[in-house]
Amino acid sequence: MKYVDEFRDGEVAATLAEAIAREADTGRRYAFMEFCGGHTHAISRYGVTDLLPANVRMIHGPGCPVCVLPIGRIDMAIRLVLERPEVILCTYGDCLRVPASDRLSLLKAKARGGDVRMVYSAADALALARKHPEREVVFFAIGFETTTPPTALVIKQAQLMGLANFSVICNHVLTPSAIMTILESPEVRELGTVPLDGFVGPAHVSTIIGSRPYAFFAEEYRKPVVIAGFEPLDVMQAIRMLIRQVNEGRAEVENEFTRAVSEEGNLKAQALVSEVFELRRSFEWRGLREVPYSALRIRAAFAAQDAERKFDLAFTPVPDNKACECGAILRGVKKPTDCKIFGTVCTPENPMGSCMVSSEGACAAHYNYGRFRDVPVVAA
């Protein structure tokens, strides 16, 4: 696969690893947060950590839209589809297994008779509404800035077509607000408590919003940001660039992913998004609690496509498991293995907290890809 395989090359990785080892100052420690689950996945999947010097540590951020989706939002969708037999609830495959209240999930709601369907694309949800005029098709939309424009498009199309039986539960969230929340957390603010020397910035989010929005963090919080592609060589190169900035005392926004990300981003998509959506005053993120101005809702002009208005859906917050350390993990204060219930009560089959929900969450990634490092190899 062109533009993919070249960025996964093991031999190049070895030379990059050498370069990083050479450039990293052995006298200090580096801690970088990759905001995105995509980076978390690449790091775990390709074993990038093994190629980094011991004094370079990666912290897994909250950048997985499935992980940060609060229980109450899934509950809302489950109630809707179980109470109203006319509803077809469609959503991306990722959302189906997210645990909700009463040991349910959308998949389990389906098993109880709810008409829940997986779609590959927002367009498929729209097509379903056209195919079943006698049903109410509700698209449960999640995602960061990357996934928002397709949702905006189908909402607009539904309005143009006068498609009365299509609506959306909008759970789209915003990357910069989440980064801000992390930077504003007491541990990060009080210098020294939590070391956070810079960010690997989102790849595909940035294709839409461009590199400019990150300038604020670099300038205001003095944190270097390197936007990087989701291939493992991209990540390594970004780490190398972050190390250089730290070494040189710079805090700039750099772009490793120039092949797809420009400064201004995708203006067409941005315009579409602001036509259809507006900011929510506040939105709950699993693991981060309420984050101000961190999510989108459907504008009044598209009220007919807003399932929350149409079906009068109410959000009821559900507290996370008390033992869950997700908040601290997302802020870089703790590691998955610091959680008492990691790998026992909390496993990918029965996740207790947001970080275990999708394979891109810090706990799930460690469980699936890394837990073998926590136990000594025992002879049979």
């Binding site: 696969m1 062109k2 533009y3 993919v4 070249e6 960025f7 190049v12 030379t15 990059l16 050498e18 370069a19 050479r22 995105c36 689950g37 995509g38 950048g63 997985c64 839209p65 499935v66 991306y92 590959y120 694309s121 927002a122 367009a123 498929d124 995602g143 960061f144 990357t146 996934t147 424009p149 397709p150 498009l153 989102p202 790849a203 595909h204 989010v205 294709t207 839409i208 592609g229 989701f230 060589l233 991209d234 190169q237 190398r240 490793e256 992913f257 120039t258 092949r259 797809a260 990300v261 995708n266 067409k268 998509a269 579409l272 891109e360």
Partner: protein, 81 residues
């Protein structure tokens, strides 16, 4: 998050649709979110939509940057040999 992949446009179709190729696999996607895509262009595809074009020159430059570290390494190795 945001699984997306570069794929080559092999057919432009009606209504902002296109067929892309990824390692021999072909899929219909929408070009509604990007402007001026031409046959043969690579686009970044996410949930059935192209999010942006991929710039081949920039890709080459990035790969060159990776290689650079290799060259450095080699130079150093030679230097220290």
């Amino acid at each position: 998050m945001c699984l997306a992949i570069p794929a080559r446009v092999v057919e432009l179709m009606d209504e902002d649709m296109a067929r892309v190729d990824l390692g021999g696999v072909r899929k219909e996607i929408s070009l509604a979110l990007v402007d001026e895509v031409a046959l043969g262009d690579y686009v970044i595809v996410h949930v059935g939509y192209a999010l942006s074009k991929l710039d081949p020159d920039e890709a080459e430059k990035t790969l060159a940057l990776f290689a650079e570290s290799g060259l450095d390494l080699q130079a150093i190795a030679e230097g220290s040999a």
